[in-house]
């Protein structure tokens, strides 16, 4: 669906991403993992058409993504950003309904009510629908933003650290929802820090380190002790739970 070929990005004279070739495939959850500052968010921005790459090309269904008009692009892919502030005290239901705006004046707009209530339920915020966004806690805000992205109902979904502000249960909820979307045929790209979470829910991991794609493959292929220790520079142990690797740092008692 989305294909990046030989993509590189320079920002302010420094190379933050170089020579990345990666496919985003329908029906699959692709997790971008890697240390802080490795270029994960930049890669997400390039794949979603937000940053034009300095080198290489990004295509969506064979069309250069930069050529797709912003209105049409918004019906093809949605993006959950890390920061989600709202300038005015909109109601939660209004914020989620904003996710429907790309579909205004199309046939799909008759699904607006449906899409919003389904998204509210999926993000477990139905009970907050009439609250003001500005009154919510950080975790609640993150779920509202997630619901807004769900309401957009696009075939490609980008989630930049969707679990960062969430408690254990809601982390699992979000990732399960991502799996459900992929099962329904969507392509889901998610930036995650928690390797075990990525391993449990992603079909493929793309490990980004120092601006390069270190490796891409199944969780078992990517998460080897040698590779994790090299990339993250921390000793780890690997366990296998439910057929998927779980990464635990080696903690020496102090």
């Amino acid at each position: 669906m989305i294909r990046a070929e030989g993509v590189g990005v320079d920002l302010g004279g420094t190379t933050v991403l170089s020579d990345v070739t990666l496919d985003v495939i329908p029906g699959e959850v692709l997790a971008l993992v890697g240390p802080n500052g490795a270029g994960k968010s930049t890669l997400l921005g390039v794949l979603s058409g937000e940053h034009p790459p300095t080198r290489g090309s990004v295509t969506l269904d064979g069309r250069p993504i930069a050529r797709i008009r912003s209105g049409e692009l918004a019906r093809l892919r949605s993006v959950l950003t890390q920061e989600n502030t709202v300038s005015f005290p909109f109601l939660v239901s209004e914020v989620v309904a904003m996710g429907r705006s790309p579909w205004a004046r199309t046939e799909e707009s008759r699904d607006d009510v449906d899409a919003v209530s389904a998204a509210l339920a999926a993000a477990d915020i139905t009970h907050l629908a009439d609250r003001r966004y500005t009154q919510l806690s950080g975790g609640e805000r993150a779920r509202v933003a997630f619901a807004r992205v769900l309401a957009q109902r696009t075939p490609v979904i980008f989630l930049d650290e969707p679990t960062a502000a969430l408690d254990l249960r809601h982390q699992e909820d979000v990732m399960r929802e991502a799996r459900r979307l992929a099962a329904a045929g969507a392509a889901v790209v998610v930036v995650l820090h928690d390797l075990s979470l990525a391993s449990a829910y992603a079909d493929r991991l793309a490990l980004v380190a120092s601006g390069r794609l270190d490796v891409a493959g199944t969780p078992a292929e990517v998460l080897t002790q040698e590779r994790v220790e090299r990339v993250y520079d921390v000793p780890v142990q690997l366990h296998v739970v439910g057929g998927r690797p779980v990464v635990v740092p080696v903690r020496t008692a102090t």
């Binding site: 912003s70 049409e72 918004a74 989600n84 502030t85 005015f88 005290p89 239901s93 705006s101």
Partner: protein, 347 residues
């Protein structure tokens, strides 16, 4: 949701009552007392409906149609223009404190107008002063916009400090122009600084009304996009909004609305701050309804303020800018206080 819908209903009724009441009260109040019946009758006859209430006295007729009605029309148009400009500015800055007066756009407009007055520029005909007011307003808006924005948002402190700088600069320019001007021009400039609806004529009111109507309609059609802008620049873009075009177009819109108001009536501060704020508190921040209600509310507030301005001190016409600032200053305090007690201030 239902709470806000009910409040919207209440607000519509309140605005309608205040608006019509303010208009009638303005029409009957003045040195020449005219009864409400005569006002209604005269208006009905004016639109072609003969009736028995219409006054026969020609002095009453001309007082209404030459003095009071154009002034009321001007008040409605200017109030609507300033309130809509305020709502749009707050939307594009993502900040409830952005207001043409506070951030120096009105001062820029007055500076532009004063240049035309002092140097006697008439290159563009009788509208030269208005065009200069627009240019000054636009320049100030662009300056504030580019200086105070970072990462798609405007910090309140930066915005206010930029406003101080722009106001100071425009103030210095005005002071210089007053210094070099002859006494006739001086008086005109002082008029611009104080703001007044005195001596409004139909053609002027007509120009302001047309610009305001067009600007308000444009703002309403952009309303949904302003809502999305509240999510921040990136999210708005991800939802298909052409953010740069929207911003630039809106800046021109704000400059146009503010410029046309300033060109004919001088600096009238705080309307663009107070009106959208009160309406947002009543019916929520969704921009379409906000802009419509702000236009009506701004018109109503201006009619009432102008009524006060010309009747508070018998036989004299107070500058209306003085009155709005008198109301707006404490309101600004209140906003700051409320925000501080809620979340420890803006910075």
């Amino acid at each position: 949701m239902t709470g806000r819908a009910a409040r919207a209903g209440v607000l519509s009724v309140v605005l309608a009552v205040v608006l019509v009441g303010g208009i009638v009260l303005s029409a009957v109040t003045g040195q020449l007392a005219i009864s409400p019946g005569e006002v209604v009758g005269s208006v009905l006859r004016g639109v072609g409906i003969p009736n028995q209430w219409a006054p026969d006295d020609r002095i009453i007729e001309s007082t209404l149609w030459v003095v009071r009605f154009p002034r009321i029309a001007m008040a409605l148009a200017v109030g609507a223009a300033l309130a809509v400009a305020g709502a749009v500015m707050q939307a594009i800055f993502g900040n409830p404190l952005a207001e043409p007066g506070v951030v120096g756009v009105s001062a820029g407009g007055a500076f532009g107008a004063s240049i035309a007055i002092v140097f006697g520029l008439t290159a563009l005909g009788t509208g030269t002063v208005a065009v200069f007011a627009f240019a000054g307003g636009l320049a100030a808006t662009l300056l504030v916009y580019f200086v105070s924005r970072a990462n798609g948002r405007t910090e309140v402190v930066t915005l206010l400090l930029t406003g101080i700088a722009v106001n100071a600069f425009a103030g210095a320019g005005l002071a210089f122009l007053i210094f070099v001007a002859d006494s006739g021009s001086r008086e005109q400039i002082v008029f611009w600084q104080l703001g007044s609806l005195n001596g409004s004529l139909w053609p002027e009111a007509g120009i302001v009304a047309v610009v305001t109507a067009i600007g308000t309609i444009v703002a309403i059609t952009l309303g949904r996009r302003y809502d999305l802008l509240a999510l921040g620049e990136r999210n708005a873009r991800h939802l298909g909004v052409n953010v740069e075009a929207l911003r630039i177009g809106s800046i021109v819109l704000v400059a146009l609305l503010t410029g046309v108001a300033v060109a004919f009536c001088g600096i009238i501060a705080f309307v663009g701050l107070v009106v959208p704020h009160v309406i947002r508190m009543a019916i929520g921040p969704a921009h379409r309804a906000l802009i419509v209600a702000s236009a009506v509310g701004g018109g109503a507030l201006m009619v009432l303020s102008d009524l006060l301005a010309r009747s508070l001190v018998a036989g004299s016409d107070l500058p209306i800018g003085l009155l709005t600032s008198l109301i707006g200053g404490p309101f600004f305090f209140y906003l700051l206080f409320r925000q501080r007690s809620k979340s420890g201030g803006w910075a």
